[in-house]
Amino acid sequence: MTRLLVSVILTSLGALVYGLLLGGVSRVITASIHGRIGPRLTQNFIDLWKLFRKESSIHHGTMFWMAPMFRLTGGIGVLLLVPIIAGNSVLTNMSFSGDLLLVLYFMFFGCLGMALGAGDSGHPYAVVAVSRGLLQMSAYELSFSAAVLVLALGLGTFSIENIVSAQQGGILNWNVFRFPFATAAALITFLPMNMTYPFNIVLAPQEIPIGPPTEYSSRFLSFMFSGRAIFGVAKLILFVNLFFGGAGSWSSLLIKTFLLYMYPLFVSPVFPRFRTEQSVRFLWFVPTSLVAVDLLRVIL
Amino acid sequence: MNVFYWTVAGTASGLIIVGLWGVLTRKNILRIGLAFTIADTGVNLLLVWSGYLPGRTTPILNGDVPAAEAVSAVVDPLPQALVLTSIVIGVAVAALFVVVAVLASRRLGTADIRRMKELKW
């Protein structure tokens, strides 16, 4: 019990640090692509601390109040439900409580909380962003869950651990090779999942300050940032587990997640931003058709 | 005697057909009433006709026809009895029909049945 508690706390903190670090890296790289000087690698830590320490703080109501907790819980929860390193009994954390299905649905927890908070703020922009975000989510979840279900059907299990262990024994056993189309689809959905170009209309920096959390500031925002960073890492680990053979060791975990994190950076700047309905339609059809290919392979 | 027999039958049937024809095609309600009367007459003829036997007499057993020979001497009394009823009924219905027709044409301002169809469908 104590071991579990320690592991949970350490994993969460680690994921937070790693998430912020990755964010910093991405900002640096983006800046260099743009030819700017850009922020420092540690800028995200500084921002977080600044927000956390800010004295003045307002809230608009109970849901506004609770939303950052929801967000944080959502992020940490997903992280805890995903076994981080295959075979490491400690770092499986809470993954015994449920399988892939639970993770899939638990990913909504944080989103829902944040959306509610945004709604409670009473700010129309926040709600507009929520509207877009939910729509886009509904779109990418279709193809992402399709990809996941194809894996589950193909491997005959919903258990992430089993999925990971099914990929052991050589790189060709990785699902990225066994289910290339499903993986491709999942990688496409990875972009809107992280709200990067061309799927960043939710944040739409030119129109809406920062998307749903428009009204948030100070400590509330720091919680949200933390939640988001942890959630990002959790998603990376999930992808690695599902498609890239899982991580047998710390090093492979870091390398795989880092590479996966870098992939949007090199893809997204190429595309212009989709309008909501465009992204929705794109996500409904393109990745889903890809999955369909693997689905037919599995069924036949 | 067959000629007589079938002539009456033909006349009766003809009257029924013409009467119904009139009922179904005439527009003036009073004339429709007349057509009904004609058809009724035809039906009555047919009824009496159905009780007719050749070479016999009225079913009244007075001196001319002894009661013992009635069976072979008189025509069938039943259809005649029925026709009596039918005639009276016919005229009763006709009287009512005419009264209704008169009032209908007065109230509706027309005797044309084609204009008496407010109730339909």
Binding site: P68, L142, P209, R219 | V99
Partner: protein, 973 residues
Amino acid sequence: MVTALAVFLPLLGAFLTAWLTHRNERLSLLITRLFLLAGLAAILVIAARLGAVTDGGLENTMILRTGVMTPPLSIDLKVTGWSALAAVVVYVGALLGVGRFSGRIPGTQPLLLTLVTTSLGLMFATDFFNSFVFIEIGSIITIGLTAAGRCRRRWEVALKTAMISGLVTILYLLAVVIVYRTTGELRLTAISTMTGFPAILVSGLLLTVIMTEIKAFPLSGWGLDFYQGVDKNFAAVYSSTWSLAVLLWSARMLTVLPLPDPGVLARIGAGGLVLGQLAGLRQRDPGRMMGYSTSAYASILLILAGTVHGADYLSLTLLFFTFASLSKTTVFLMADPEEEDDPWKKVSGYVLLLPLLCITGIPPFPVFWAKIRMLTVLADISPLLMGAVILGLFFESVYIYRLWSSRTGPWQKKRKYFDAAFMGAALLAAGTVWTAAGAEQGLSLSGELFRAGFVRDLFLAIFAGGTLLSLPGAFRGGPGEKSPAVWMLVSGVALTLLPLSGNGLTFYVLWEISAFAAVIGVSKGARPSEGTFWFAVFAGAAGYLLLASLVLSDGAVSSPGIPMLLVAAAALLKMGQGGAHLWNVRAYSTAPSTMAAFLSGTSSKAAVFLLVFSASAAAILPLGTSLAWIGALTALGMAAMASLESDYKKVLAYASVSQLGYVIMGIGLTSVLGWTAAIYHTFNHFLFKSILFLGAAGVIARTGTSDYDSLGGLVKRMPLTFTFTLISVIAFAGVPPLSGFGSKWLLYNALVEQGMLPLALVAMFASVVAFLYAFRLLYAVFLGQLAPRHYEVKEAPLAVLAPQGVFTAVLMALSFRPTLLLDRLVPAVASIAGLGGEIPVIEGTALSTSLGYWDAWSVGMMVMGVFGFAFVFYWISGRRPIHVGQLDIGFAGELPPSPEEVHYAGDFFRPFRRALAFLPEIHASKVFGGIVKTADLAGDVFRSLFTGDARTYLLHSLIILTVMILWMKGGTP
């Protein structure tokens, strides 16, 4: 002697009053009543002597000889137990109507009294020509009283009736000629000995006469005009005297017709029933509707004559026609003849309810027993015929419903209505008791129709609990609503008894009671007309499908094959699946909110119950996968509709149908996992939909609106309602750790286990779309800006809040310890024969299959732990934030204009609509509108037969006559 008195007393009275009425109208009326009462006493004595009330006495006979000698020379009047009972109805009808009608129009008593004697004479007549005389008297009096009636269109009606009777006279006398010439006598029984072409000709003539007289489609044109145009108070007398007499005489005539094949009658009747009632579907004039209903009963007579024989025939005809006549009389008595266009304009629906229910044959009214007996017989002969009859009856119930539903008049304590209603109710109640006691198939609430066990008990708990918890809020209707509490209670009690029913009949009766009580409950809403109509139509359709299944499966609710298909269709309709959601959306949104909660949360589970138990009894589920697909597509489509909808209750309605789609999906899988998922979700849905609708009830009660655009920010005013709604929304969205996820987990396991990935995908997509409306619901109603007009809004009434609390408590318990339910549910489902697939394993709080695992308890603990940690950490890590209002937002330095303008709720998911634009717009309302339009068009084709020109009606009769003669001639060598 008593017989002679019973028949001729009114006639003597008529002669007397013909003289008196010129002198003293009131004395005349008194004498009329006295003679009628004396006659009634006489006929009651006869009925008692014949032992008519007991079942066997219908065939006992008493002869009244007239003239000299015996038939065939003279004429007998024959009173049977059967006709004696009908004669009682004639007297009662006359007594009920005579004061009303002749009170308004002086000088009509002699005719009314004569009509009674004539009706009795016709019912007792044994002689062919004698019947003719009676028919003529009846026609003359009908014409006379129609013309004397107080209504604008009397002349037209009287003239048409006169012309019809003229034609009938001619055809009948022709038949007399042929009968007498070929048989030598005129007894009715002689007709049946005829053979060869004369038999055909006489059959044709008499059938035409009968069909015209009883107003069977397609010879019903004049009858429709008659009922539309005639003085409604005369129609009251007419219905239970002359109309009844003609029906019963025809019932006897039809059995003696020397038809080559009596089955022809049934086909003519069934065809006429379907087409005639189809024609009536679009009818708006209430009087004409009654005419169409009469025509339906005429067709039923033809069907009975063609299929049923002996004692059954007697009891069925008696049941059908006496009670229909009596009900019709009651209905007409309540009409106000001065109101030409809608004589029932000012009448309260309550007063009309009983007789109209009786006419439509809703259990437990006597006509129902006759109907089900008839259908049972028909089912043995030809299921197709039975189907046609059921379809026709369904059409009838649609326009009868319309007749009822447009009665919005308040309950008036007029004596006029009271005595009619009271007597009608008393008579109907007596009849009900009589039939229920003598009904061949008894009702039973103990028996093994449904296998006792946990699943049955679970449904029992749902029905009982749902009713009890929805009820408190129903006592006070919301704004503009009336209280549906009584009807909810009736419906709920019937529902609760449903799982206990001992046989199929009981089940059906309870089902129907529950349905029609619910219809009335729904009609208490603020703008009920359309919603209630569609609800009634769909509930009616489901009921008739169920009836068909019941009849076909011989006492059980269903059996393999077609009956099971019918049951599945009924359940789908009831649950709004596969496009049938039209009724849910319209009814839920217009019904009183608590009624909607009851319907969606509790009542819809009856369909699940039906499907589960029928399928498990039939051991197989036809459709199977297709059923699952219907559920999946419904779940998806309705979720999308819910996201785009802007009315609180409509959203909930769509959502409800969408959620039930998962249930159907699970049942369609026919595996242990699938059914576990379905039943688990059923229970879940019961909880969260009840909470949601009750919450909506509270919101609407306080704000008076259900429009998203006008709501918002209510979390500040109704925090408890919001909390309950939030919890149930999280639950139905399937977000862990609340109970909805369990349903999803079980369902996906079942789907993947069966290898149905496409289905799983659709389900997954539907559940994601569910987020859209889930959030929108919470946001538009409770979050965002609070409109100034709602500043003073109070928390919802305790009557809806407390039940929500109870539901929420159960929901939370189920969320954290789903094994409380699953521990019992899984073994129960596993023991149902015919279900394949693996059985999930439960260990402690964890549930696992070969695919995956789920431990709700530990998930719950984790979420609580993390959330609690974050909360506490926030609490201790710094200063409390300051609360500011919703208008105090960063608005680019501007002051937000007004809360309403800032609240962004309308067309919330516009991009979604745009993204869907490539789909052809298939709205259920359009589809059903199309169906209705097609039916209307088809009905119009047949309606257009009735041009209103009396000559056309005569021509119809002649054409039918020609066709029948040619047909029968061709049929026999």
